[in-house]
Symmetry: C2
Subunit: 193 residues, 2 copies
Amino acid sequence: MNCLEARIVKDGIVKEGNVLKVDSFLNHQMDPELFNEMGREWKRRFEGKTITKILTIEASGIGIACIAAQHFGVPVVFAKKAKSINLDGEMYTAEVESFTHKNKNQVIVSKKFLNENDHLLLIDDFLANGCALQGLIQIAKAAGATVEGIGIAVEKGFQAGGQIIRNLGYQLESLAIVEEMNWETGEIKFREQ
Amino acid sequence: MNCLEARIVKDGIVKEGNVLKVDSFLNHQMDPELFNEMGREWKRRFEGKTITKILTIEASGIGIACIAAQHFGVPVVFAKKAKSINLDGEMYTAEVESFTHKNKNQVIVSKKFLNENDHLLLIDDFLANGCALQGLIQIAKAAGATVEGIGIAVEKGFQAGGQIIRNLGYQLESLAIVEEMNWETGEIKFREQ
């Protein structure tokens, strides 16, 4: 059991409807020491790959991505969820449906910060149906950048996102893959990695 | 000139209407090495203060706060801008007007993550009229927590926010205070610190 799985067992809360709350250490309150361990593990798993930039999506991907980026020595770009008057110039856009919020968002990245010379590591906190990740992949493609790998904190292994992304040929490294969880007993089963 | 001021001179772009774009290193593309220097400087400026937690606001405060938190050895909590179905239970709320987006947001923090034993460092990327910061202060007060200090990356010294916050008695440490900027020449004048 790695550090993230152990932390999920300790502090994660299983709720009815296959909801896993990890907001005490991952996506509302955040533990930078844990993020540092996660960054070290992604660095190990993507050993040998050339990464020039990390691409993530606001809001909860940003902290994880910034600390992981310290292990790769690269900048981070985050996709923004709404149009801002400060984001002038041309931008890459993709439409993303949120599982959590049950709505659709336009996500945007300024064309200034991604191009065909970039070798990207995509980072996000959660992977369920994969919509956010598909949006990031779409933006990477539009920029002509290469997606070298994808690092996810928690994957819901019983939803389709992970398999779809792996079937597309991407190296997807989820640090914790939840196979099953039981909200009545609180039990969580992880996929062996 | 500190590392942030130097970076603003090098990569910041002054636009008409007193807009300073720092999106190539601070709030769209992000430079974790710069954030690390900023964290070190805040640690120095708040030397001797007991900090138990960093409180910030999504989205562009998160990366800076997470890396700064490594220097203080504390967790980060970020205030969220919209109600989420994953944020059940009781929460602290404040209303915040955005200078950039010209709209009002409810910002919320779960009551689980702030209480009267917390000694907070508030961190954000920008301080202009101070509305976001006032929201965070309001939330800290509602929790009964102590605001030990406030760390801002870029303060617009010609707007009222900084003076209002300092007049309230808070130790506000802005790493770059822009006194004047000229969009025609691109010149930026910083306050001597």
